[in-house]
């Protein structure tokens, strides 16, 4: 490949903050198209794929992981400065994901004692948050981990110069499009589908399982109170429901404000 051809390709970098690197892995798992896909980009950094890394200006930066340390924050700000587009990939980068499940519930000091037995914040951590809390994010690709198909379509859109299309409707839509029986209505399962961002093609309800919310609530449209109410009616205890909601969405205001009703005793 000539130097000029390479120059026309978007320069990209894939970066990890605090997280499991599972989202990078999902991109690498696009086995059928991986070679073709990667050949369309000029990859300057991709931790999971190659030790090669170049600290340079980028057209697009993909960031996974939450911001939970000073180091994360510094890295993130550096990426933002050097990149025309910054795309949060995976729930950790979008909203903090499972790392945020106890945010505003237990302090960092309490967590230090529970985990390390010392109160001092030796790792200089703070409550994990999505990257959008600190820098401008151009697009978000949710999921824990991200969906391969969705990521591929997003990359294709970007290559074509278009904004990626990410659903802003709930999993219920995909259940109905697929004709999957509703696990809440048919079986009284504690499905979070009504408030969770679609894009997984209702993977779990399609297997008869209740949605655990791994793609995070729909920003600006989540009726968490209604979910609490709907599951209460089906016999679930407040604590169970709230923990379930917090699992992937501890950073959402409308989930944080949900309080356990006194004497709430579900039988499940």
């Amino acid at each position: 490949m000539t130097e000029t051809e390479n120059n026309l390709k978007p320069r990209i970098g894939v970066f990890s903050l605090t997280g499991c690197a599972g989202d990078q892995l999902m991109i690498l798992n696009l086995e059928d198209t991986l070679i073709e896909l990667l050949s369309k980009f000029d990859i300057k950094s991709f931790q999971e794929a190659s030790s090669y890394s170049e600290n340079t200006n980028l057209d697009i930066a993909f960031v996974e992981g939450s911001v939970s340390t000073e180091h994360d924050l510094k890295t993130l700000k550096n990426i933002r400065e050097k990149s025309s587009l910054l795309i949060a990939i995976g729930d950790c980068a979008v909203n903090g994901c499972v790392q945020a499940m106890r945010n505003k519930q237990t302090s960092i000091a309490e967590r230090m004692i529970d985990v390390y037995g010392v109160e001092d914040n030796i790792y200089k951590t703070f409550e994990p948050k999505g990257v959008g809390e600190y820098v401008k994010v151009d697009f978000e690709i949710p999921g824990c981990p991200i969906e391969k198909e969705e990521a591929l379509n997003a990359l294709i859109s970007l290559l074509n110069g278009d904004a990626p299309l990410i659903p802003d409707y709930p999993v219920c839509v995909e259940c109905k499009l697929n004709g999957y029986p509703c696990v809440i209505i048919e079986e009284g399962k504690p499905c979070l589908g009504p408030i969770i961002t679609a894009g997984c093609d209702a993977r779990c309800p399609g297997l008869g399982l209740d949605c655990v919310g791994c793609r995070g609530p729909i920003k600006g449209e989540t009726n968490a109170k209604a979910e609490l109410e709907a599951l209460r009616k089906r016999g679930y205890a407040d604590k169970y429901i709230i923990n379930r909601l917090r699992f992937f969405a501890g950073n959402f205001d409308d989930i944080q404000i949900l309080g356990v009703k006194e004497n709430s005793k579900g039988d499940k």
């Binding site: 074509n160 110069g161 278009d162 904004a163 299309l165």
Partner: protein, 294 residues
Amino acid sequence: MTVKNSLTPLEAQITRIEEMTSIEKLFYLKLIDLNTVKEFHYTPGQFLEVSIPGVGEAPISICDVQREHGRLQLCIRKVGRVTNAIHRLKKGDRLWIRGPYGNGFPMNLMENHDLLLIAGGLGIAPLRSVLQYALLHRNSYGSITVMYGVKCYSMMLFREEFLKLFREGDKLNVKFLLAYEDSDDFQCYQLSCERSDRCMSGLVTKLIESTAITPDNTYAVVCGPPIMYKFVVKELTQRGFTPAQIYMTMERRMKCGVGKCGHCITGSSNSIKYVCKDGPVFTYWDALKTRGLM
């Protein structure tokens, strides 16, 4: 399957592009298939669904009058996924169109009447087609008054064309008035020095306030951002315009253009309108009957 599908987009070529503002370009299109050219008729106020394969479709109103078969002009603001992609196209490139759709303005009904065209921002695009139609059939219409509200000189669409009308319109019995929001805009200020009764700082409603207009034998035709209608209609009704004398063209999410996809539905159960099919041109009377239309 050989059945002709009237909803399949037709191929068109861009024959010319004019950059009008930082966010708006004027595209000149030519239909490619000669068989479809003959069947392609449009009237002022109608719109097209413009496609970029692989990106999507957007409803765009046609901004000129049909002169030659199969040729048309679209003034497109860069505002979303599709229009951004259209803005990346160059002269000679192709795009795909469906239509024309919508009812359009009642040009026949308005014959032998004076016309008062009131536009804000990009709203001038469909009204330009009304203006051009009336000028093409000049003897069929009475006096024409155009009131155009812009943010500033650099955001003024069809600038040369309209400045000519501003200065020389009287020869054609056309009064062209301009309102500009940015009071510091020097070029607009110069225009207001040139003709203080025809160009003033303020919103388009200011032009209505400061101009002698009567509802007698007149139709008002309005197009602009949704917020504008309320104020313009208030001014007009205060001056004695009846709800049936005021025509306006509405914006909605018109995904299919043919009254199927449902996104442009508006109203309450006793008057549901598909803006794409029942409109996009409505009278103020329609708006009074249909909750949420205006």
